[in-house]
Symmetry: C2
Subunit: 229 residues, 2 copies
């Protein structure tokens, strides 16, 4: 039987795991590997590409591929849709709109979304709950120049994230994760003590080269983002 | 000129961005696309595979590919080697070993690394500094049953992360990110107030199906993990 790209990938991984190919060492060329495995060069190429994407090897056009000195370079975290995240745990999802207003963008937001002075934004504060317990606090700002339909949209029954997904089919984003201390309002909404350390995710979303929305999601106390390889 | 996979990918992205292909809608089959673009099916396949990996489309063997309802499903964060992270910013990296001991694994660690009672571990507390300012606090535990050479290793001049990379060529990990409050020791090491919210990264590393090391990295106050698409 001919070796599939999976066979080749797993054989190479084995060589690296067992230390036959040491970190930093040169890996045989694709033509040579294709001969070794008796397979097409494209098959070897796919195996090598996946090993490179997973951070196991490093490919260089001129000097060939090497086993990476630092095996892990990236961590991928799932970004769940909150309703699904809660319902997949068998809990009841509930949404509450805390505040809704149309305002001139404050200066910090103008800087972040590259907005002109006087730009109108829709500002929403919402709470996502699991079995009645606060799960996530959402502070959302939407650029009305780019998404004027957000002016009339009704966010009393479901959150702006789901609505935005139906409006923006593809978007580029910047995501930041940091730790913040609960202020009085967050403490009241998330049912914790003021000053408690909370994990915060911020997202700025670009659509057709303009910034369309910024959101600050503050997770419940003790929340962990976890990923496995 | 023949369309490259990049041309095809960008043309399809354009159709989705402009709303010609709406979220949830069916995308023409690969054979049909190959005809449209006058290119090989393998070329179309590569474009589609990358769009799927980036979470733009959803591929199903039987029912064909669709534009995803939820464009973004994952966030990838770079995990830098701390020395490089600091030096790439033009700052001077300095390392300090705060504590080094060989102890029986405490119960919480045994649970985490699946260790037998009485297992010996090497425990290290280190500090990574940038231009003399504390940058990251490392609390590291190494399973001596699996890595006995860690008993004699010298960590006075450089940290265990770099050493481990030379010992473990490939490994599976679990990564968790959370917010924690500085206790007295962390506050003293990271030069901040007790109770200050800090971003914490925990990693458990598996090697050949056994847990080899657990580390708790606490970042300096105000640290953000950021990724862009």
């Amino acid at each position: 039987m001919t070796a599939t790209y999976r066979d080749i990938k797993s054989d190479i991984l084995g060589k690296i795991t067992r230390g036959e190919w040491t970190p930093g060492s040169l890996i045989p060329g694709e033509l040579e590997l294709a001969e070794t495995y008796g397979s097409a060069r494209a098959t070897v190429n796919r195996a090598m590409r996946e090993l490179a994407e997973e951070g196991i090897i490093e490919r260089k056009r001129k000097s060939g591929s090497r086993v990476r000195l630092t095996p892990l370079r990236q961590a991928r975290f799932d970004i769940p849709v909150i309703r699904r995240e809660i319902e997949e745990q068998g809990r009841a999802y509930r949404y509450a709109l805390v505040r809704s207003e149309v305002v001139e963008a404050p200066e910090w937001l103008r800087a972040r979304l590259a907005l002109q002075p006087g730009s109108q934004v829709r500002h929403l504060v919402c709470l996502h709950l699991a079995d009645g317990t606060p799960w996530q606090h959402e502070d959302r700002w939407i650029n009305l120049a780019l998404l004027p339909q957000a002016l009339a949209a009704d966010f009393s029954a479901s959150g702006p994230t789901e609505w935005l997904m139906s409006q923006i089919p593809f978007s580029a984003v910047e995501i930041s994760i940091s730790a913040t201390a609960a202020d009085a309002a967050l403490a009241a909404h998330l049912d914790c003590a003021a000053g408690e350390p909370l994990l915060m995710t911020e997202r700025s979303t670009r659509w057709n080269d303009q910034m369309v929305t910024y959101v600050r999601l503050v997770h419940r106390p003790g929340h962990r983002m976890t990923t496995r390889y």
